[in-house]
């Protein structure tokens, strides 16, 4: 574990990313105390620029505090990112593991099923799903999970395919272990590193997807989100730039931080690869 942390720290970008991510988490956690009351309430005069009238990041066209919106939006963005990733991992890891371990006909069937989802542009499918199930936080999470599990299934399948033939797995077969216990205790722990790396990137893309859906007005109408803030500010962007820029910066920083952390995780979990990359540079 200490080793892991030492290797993670070697990647400076990853440490910066982790710091930003922690700040966002703290912001989300302390939002009710930093900005008590609903972010939907009027807090000042409409269109007041940042810094004026006690509004740190200005107000929007209805006088709502942009800073409060960002803080409360962070909760939703992180929640959606985390929950939809967990859901996508559950589906993706299960299907990938089944396909990779059993191989043969099952593998073919599962992979054709996966390709079926991959042939549809994911954003269009997400819009379609949210539109069918009416926008709510549940349907948004569901839609994001549905469009993001196929890559997980493919990665997990590839790992399982290569690990299945390894001698320690054959040794477990010869010991008479059950299939389930071989998958859970022998193969999965060794396939974990790419899954961890992939999931940090999935959280980032889930946040982007959620913002894009909210921007189009397909977010949960009762929840303040970053995408909604940008969407509502877009028509007055020349009049009040701060309404779209600050939530945009929040999305940018969070997604960047998650990507940096993902890369750091990948370096820390595959030390040999990281050293090669360092040597080539």
């Amino acid at each position: 574990m200490r080793d892991f942390w030492r290797r993670f720290r070697r990647n400076k970008g990853a440490v910066v990313g982790l710091v930003i991510l922690l700040l966002v988490v703290v912001l989300a956690a302390t939002a009710p105390w930093l900005f008590p009351g609903s972010p939907w309430d009027m807090a000042g005069a409409p269109f007041s620029p940042p810094g004026e009238m006690g509004m740190l990041l200005g107000t929007d066209s209805l006088g709502r505090d942009v800073a409060a919106g960002i803080a409360h939006g962070a909760r939703i963005s992180l929640l959606v990112g985390a929950v939809s990733t967990v859901a996508a991992l559950l589906v993706g890891v299960t299907l990938g593991a089944v396909a990779g371990y059993l191989g043969g006909f099952v593998d073919d069937a599962v992979m054709r099923f996966t390709e079926f989802f991959q042939t549809i542009p994911s954003f269009v499918l997400a819009i379609l799903l949210v539109a069918i199930f009416t926008p709510s936080i549940g349907s948004v999470v569901f839609a994001i999970a549905i469009v993001s599990w196929p890559p997980v299934a493919r990665v997990v399948r590839a790992e399982f395919l290569s690990l299945r033939g390894r001698e320690f797995v054959q040794a477990a077969e010869v010991l008479g272990k059950s299939r389930l216990s071989i998958v859970l205790t022998d193969i999965l722990p060794n396939a974990l590193s790419p899954i961890v790396v992939l999931s940090s990137l999935m959280v980032a893309s889930a946040i982007l997807l959620e913002s894009a859906l909210s921007f189009l007005g397909l977010g949960d109408p009762n929840l303040m989100t970053w995408g909604f803030l940008i969407g509502s500010g877009r028509s007055v962007i020349r009049l009040a730039w701060w309404m779209s820029v600050f939530p945009g910066v929040a999305i940018f920083l969070t997604v960047l931080a998650l990507n940096l952390v993902g890369e750091g995780l990948s370096d820390a979990l595959n030390p040999r690869l990281a050293r090669q990359r360092g040597g080539a540079a």
């Binding site: 040794a171 010991l175 008479g176």
Partner: protein, 532 residues
């Protein structure tokens, strides 16, 4: 004057290694027209020495001191461009892995022609390339010139590599374990080829190997390396038959002697009987022709209680597939696998489970056969726990087993990566023994190990077999190892057993031509290691 003279060469290792220098104060020389064998175990620095001569050291391994002179020029002070002109032209190298050393997208002829072209003699490539291919005894040079590397076998590729190395008639050829990845019969052909070309052209050869048999076959002089230092150097006959340094003596004592002693025939009840087992792999077939490989057929044998049967053969002979059929890692289409009279082949996964306790397996690769994320104790206890033994009791027994395989019981809580190859193989053996099996299948258990470790593991297996009265199916490609440990051997070729019988009889009077060929290909068969 020597062709190549290396003096006091010291190459540093990156900090944090197990020793400060990869090679330390290494001095040797190669004269024109002789073969110097540098022999040592893995990590002894023999390849580093060769790479230093070629100027191919990785960045992390700087030369600290010493001199390398070649035909009177100091190689270490030469610039990159001057060194490049020398490489290929005067100095040539062949590598261990023939499968990856050729560009898969280029025709063989073009690759050889390229060597000629970059050194300014591309004009007569059309004439020289078939000549070179003929010189390395490749059949039909014209056809091989036009083929891509994937069409060639490992031995053929290594010949192509040698042809490339010889293209510009270098004065010195460096061969880094050129036959290690090859089967014995191919190895013998390549060794003969190198020897023949060397004497025909009067080249100097620096030959790196770990195998004393190969040394006996090819060397004029020998340098023995241990942990980065040359511990003994001298004429081949001298070093092989009268080794002075304790390390050389230990290495030579560890070489399997290959002499099979006559053992009493074993006439106990049969434990395992294979009859008519067949396994066929089919590939492709959607478009184009189906490729059908008969991995195992006509491979009947009987294994009696307390007996060790050796399955020997080259890679692709089906010996591992046959062993895996016995433990249902591979499912044969036909035949019976009778264990004490019960046919195991049609049994389901669940019905097989009781037999898992009785039949266990030791795997080839000590680095791949242990789960890297599980402690040694859990690895050994896993089998009994799976079969319902309480965890505490299984762990207690794992501790005893570690002692049995001569490891410190303190190893229980450590992970596999903290152990060397030989230690891991002991852990693998302990895992198999934890089930208290009656039949042990050992799939090349020592082929990935250095010769001294190999001798220890073989001794351990022999001792355990005697103490626990195990019946053993021992798979190996190394006839010397088979001679040492097996009561009977079965020789496999292309999926079939072509000859079987008591080890001493098969070795003394082989009946099948293939067996004879295999025995003739044992490197260093003309050399009997001295009793030490």
């Amino acid at each position: 004057m020597s062709l190549l003279r290396v003096e006091g060469l010291t190459v540093a290792l990156p900090p944090g290694g197990d020793r400060p220098h990869a090679v330390e104060d290494v001095s040797f020389h190669v004269d024109a027209g002789e073969i110097l064998c540098v022999v040592g175990e893995s990590g002894s620095g023999k390849s580093i020495s060769a790479n230093a001569v070629m100027g191919l050291l990785p960045k992390g391994l700087p030369v600290r001191s010493g001199a390398i002179s070649f035909e009177g020029r100091d190689l270490l002070s030469l610039g990159a461009e001057a060194m490049r002109r020398l490489r290929g032209q005067r100095l040539a190298m062949i590598f261990q892995e023939p499968m990856t050393a050729l560009n898969p997208l280029m025709r063989v002829g073009d690759q050889i022609a390229e060597v000629l072209r970059v050194h300014g003699s591309g004009a007569d490539a059309a004439r020289r390339v078939p000549e070179l291919l003929a010189a390395v005894n490749l059949p039909d040079p014209a056809a091989i010139t036009r083929s891509h590397p994937f069409r060639l076998s490992g031995g053929q590729r290594q010949r192509v590599m040698i042809a490339m190395a010889l293209a510009l008639e270098p004065a010195l050829l460096i061969a880094d374990e050129p036959t290690t990845a090859l089967d014995v019969t191919t190895q013998m052909q390549i060794l003969r080829l190198i020897r023949e070309i060397q004497s025909r052209r009067g080249m100097g050869v620096l030959f790196i190997t770990h195998d004393f048999g190969v040394v006996a076959e090819i060397a004029d002089r020998v340098a023995v390396m241990q942990r980065g230092r040359i511990v003994e150097q001298g004429p081949a006959a001298e070093v092989l038959n009268r080794p002075q340094h304790p390390y050389t003596r230990a290495l030579i004592a560890a070489v399997p002697h290959g002499a099979a002693e006559a053992r009493a025939a074993i006439a106990t009840a049969s434990v395992l009987e294979l009859r008519g087992v067949e396994k066929t792999y089919r590939r492709g077939g959607f478009f184009g022709a189906r490729a059908v490989v008969r991995a195992v057929h006509d491979a009947d044998f009987v294994l009696r209680r307390g007996e060790t049967l050796g399955l020997v053969g080259e890679s692709g002979s089906g010996k591992s597939t046959l062993a895996r059929c016995v433990v249902k890692l591979v499912e044969p289409e036909q035949g019976t696998i009778a264990y004490h009279g019960t046919d195991l082949r049609p049994l389901s996964r669940a019905a097989w489970k009781p037999y898992r306790r009785r039949i266990q397996m030791v795997f080839q690769d000590p680095y791949a056969s242990l789960n890297p994320r599980r402690t040694v104790g859990d690895t050994i206890a896993e089998g009994p726990v799976t079969h319902g033994e309480p965890r505490g009791k299984a762990l207690e027994r794992a501790r005893e087993l570690l002692r049995l395989v001569q490891l410190d019981p303190g190893a229980m809580d450590r992970y596999p990566h903290e152990f060397s190859g030989g230690q891991r193989q002991r852990i693998g053996i302990a895992r198999a023994l934890a089930m208290e099996p009656e039949l042990l299948i050992a799939d090349e258990p020592v082929s990935a190990l250095d010769v001294s470790v190999q001798a220890q593991v073989l001794a351990l297996l022999a001792e355990i077999r005697a103490r626990l009265e195990l019946t053993m199916l021992f798979i190996t490609h190394d006839l010397r190892v088979a001679a040492q440990i097996c009561d009977r051997v079965a020789v496999m070729q292309r999926g079939a057993i072509v000859e079987q019988g008591p080890t001493s009889e098969v070795f003394a009077a082989p009946q099948h031509p293939y067996t004879r060929q295999l025995l003739d290909s044992i490197p260093g068969r003309g050399w009997t290691p001295p009793e030490l």
